[in-house]
Subunit: 305 residues, 4 copies
């Protein structure tokens, strides 16, 4: 299949959507990005890649970071982790507190904020002061790229304006499901959200999940096949908050979005993809990114279904 020409078709077909959706505005550092960007990168197992737009320009990965931290935590804790965070779709917005109150502070899944905060706490229990360093090292390893870092301005912006996340962590703590100091955990969480990566880097970083746990570029085993498949299933059922069903319905690939405007997706045994476009739909996912991926699976027939 000629992926490059498919990317070009997609770029042309998404043009009419450039006046829809809104850039994330809850922190100033995100509100100021150029809303009309679009880039998409495909990374194959053999190292070849395809791209459209500025595939090497970095953006704030935000919730895409939850895939990395959950991988790390699942690798370390295995099934023990399920006692503290579930793997069910929540049926609620990404930052909802409602279910936490009804369900004793156990978040539904690791891809809503509450679940990612518990995951971060579980990593702080292991890595203490060097938690963020270990997270970053893991991302460097899976993306085979030592240059990745986080954005200090975005991090500070989250610290200053992340009231909803402070509400979540305090709520969970009140149920005893945060084991470490709140400040340590929330800083780790905000830093992971502030990591900057390009579409090309992110596509590469997801290859191990497309390849049943082994990075096909380095032949390094990152996680077992069984766990890799489970992370993929979780991306499918919970990767897009309260639009996860819609994403599975229209795109048909495991994927994870971030409010920064990025979406990663994987085609099992074939490739990893990252699309970036910062205008968001009402559920907080990249509007044009979602459409681009829908066009991609329609044109290629690569849905997992």
């Amino acid at each position: 299949m000629n992926y490059q020409s498919i990317l070009e078709e997609i770029e042309s077909e998404i043009q009419p959507l450039f006046n829809e959706g809104k850039v994330a505005s809850y922190i100033p550092a995100l509100a100021n990005v150029n809303p009309n960007q679009f880039s998409m990168s495909i990374q194959m197992f053999d190292g070849t890649s395809f791209g459209i737009g500025e595939v090497n320009k970095k953006f704030s990965i935000q919730s895409i970071s939850k895939v990395f931290t959950f991988t790390l935590a699942l690798n370390h804790y295995g099934k023990e982790l399920y006692k503290r965070v579930g793997h069910e779709p929540s049926g609620n917005p990404f930052n909802s507190l409602v279910q936490l109150e009804y369900e004793n502070g156990i978040p539904r899944n690791p891809f809503i904020n509450a679940g990612a905060i518990v995951t971060a706490d579980s990593l702080v229990s292991i890595y203490k002061d060097s938690s963020f360093k270990n997270i970053l090292n893991f991302i460097k390893k899976v993306s085979n790229d030592e240059t990745i870092t986080y954005d200090e301005e975005i991090f500070n912006s989250e610290l200053e304006h992340g009231f909803r996340n402070y509400a979540l962590i305090n709520m969970i703590k009140s149920f005893g499901n945060i084991h470490n100091n709140i400040d340590d955990v929330i800083k780790t969480y905000f830093k992971q959200c502030s990591i900057m990566m390009s579409p090309a880097q992110l596509a590469k970083s997801m290859l191990f999940l497309a390849n049943h746990g082994e990075n096909p570029l380095t032949n390094e085993c990152i996680i077992t096949e069984s766990k890799a498949k489970r992370i993929n299933s979780l991306m499918l059922t919970c990767g897009h908050y309260d639009a996860s069903g819609d994403f599975a319905y229209k795109v048909g690939l495991p994927g994870k979005s971030g409010v920064g405007g990025g979406i990663v997706a994987i085609v099992p045994k074939k490739m990893a993809i990252c699309v970036y476009s910062p205008r968001l739909n009402t559920q907080g996912n990249s509007l044009i990114g979602t459409k681009a991926l829908e066009l991609f699976t329609t044109k290629t027939g690569l849905s997992i279904f």
Copy 2:
């Protein structure tokens, strides 16, 4: 792969679970089945099949019927149907009324009771008095079997004891999302739930979804490829009520369960499966059936992820 010996291994490994879970008790007609049954049928595209247990013994398909009625309705209405029923996981029990109240009588998806009732209503709008006949004929067609019928006793039992479903349909009607007479719709719905099929029949009946819309045994096109994939994605994200995420996580196949104890699942481009065992877990899905399918994908590596 030697599927027959895999089925035998599974049967042996699920034995310790025969004292867990409870048979559905909300209607007497279901409460009286022998709880210790287990059977499993695999149907390949070339007509070969594998089975363990009494694969030709019929049971009440219950919510598995929702796959057939949604297929019929989607075929007829296309995207119009989405205005009346969504395709998101609900994050709530199968018979919950809570979201209906907050979301103006639009059910989250067609596989919870509320959504299946709206789907039935949409079919009554088309087929009027012969709605159930058309549903049954469709099932006969996709399973290539003229002998399928429903159980009068179970139907009457639902009519007499189905208070929660009456509550749902009246609630939806109060929001204007039921267009026909309540009695006509609920009878159609209860009849479809009372249909009796065997694991072998059900496995066959799902082949068209495994084969992108075309029945591989008859080469008949049942639904477009795109719609078939969407139905599969819906089975994955919403097929097991409030345990859909867990099923996707552990089994990794699109599937649909019924409180009668059956679960159907498909492996895209390969096969369709049906497992039957009437003891249910707390979410209302076959406890042993779920475990059997988890063992199946673990042993075969046939998860879609």
Copy 3:
């Protein structure tokens, strides 16, 4: 105090509100009343009365009937009744199903629809086929008026359009908190809502609650002092659905509203009042009636606080 001139002041001051609010429209029989009516009746213990507007013109009492049925049921069952219906404000709309689902079919209080339906069921358990006759006889007794009856057209309208109430009763039945046949109970409930009374009749009918259980006009003991006070407290905390706090805050009297546009209120040891005006606020209470009672307690200082 010159109550007659106070009523005249009130009538003059509420005039600007005659373009606000909306007549109940969920059944055609109510939607067709003249929206611009206003009448108010005060009934003293010694038999004297004051009135403004058409105080002898009958209207549909709707939920005001819940005061009578709860009195009857409390008289018969005493504390046993609390096992089936609570006495807490619900914090939810009058016809909400949400709490029923979370609280096992036990309605929060007898003045929301769910609670009144359980109350009606408790009366059907006592009076069987003559339940409505007994309710009507009780109202005739407390109002000392044999002419009271119900409106067949409104009753039929409720039967035909009362989907939300059918949803409620089926929901409660599914939890086992309806002991009789659904049709018998719902017809009793719809009939009590369809009773027609005038402001003068309703004011008289509430005197026993203002007088600690004894009708001051006939010296008949209707209910014990302790129970009368409890019914009054319930009118204060729960009498106006999700605007009960606001009514207590602004009016400061125990009262009960109906979507027909009536509100009754009592001043303990002094008088009973009924106001009628069919335009409703967003919580389903008479908009002008609420304002008139607020003006009344402001002018007279007769708030219980």
Copy 4:
């Protein structure tokens, strides 16, 4: 009426309850009080008083402080305050976050934690750094007692363990309904909760509410009659969290409880009462205190209904 002998009767009748209920345990400083205390103080308008138990022994007033801060804020802001905090019963536990999420960060009433925190914020907007000093001065004024202060240990305990309250304030802040620095507001709130007063002091401090806004001992006007009545109505409908209806039903007086074990109540135009006993019922109100007040109104007939 011989109030002293009534108090003695009550003390005798509540003895069997001394093994029920549990002392508040969410902060260590409260968990360590002797659970078997009981004292009750009645304060008349003419300065006479009645008491049983250690009526001069101080305890942590906790949520009773909300009456004072709401009085101060209502006095300053009038109706403007209603835009930021309502006056409806919540139908939810005292520390629930659920309604905040559904209702845009506007708490239902000033007597649940969320509402009291918004009230504290409104006072910080006025008094800045001297907010707590002004609150304390107001309490000294209404109780005519210069010795009142707060407990540093309890305050620090709240600061350290009050995760749920931190969750609430951050949640409200995320909706823009906290105008000041979170730390400043929460410290003010925790300090007001840590104030220590005796039953005798608290009973005196409530006299102005029993007397339509004027302190009968000093003839000082604290608040207008209209506002005093509204505060009383709010105590009746919302003073005991999710047991407010039950308290109104059984006791029939405006009152406010605190998890420290105190309850204040007023009899309009007659007296103010304070009862103290630290064992709490499941809704967080003094179990024996509630029973004592129920016995009091039963014996005296002083319910407002």
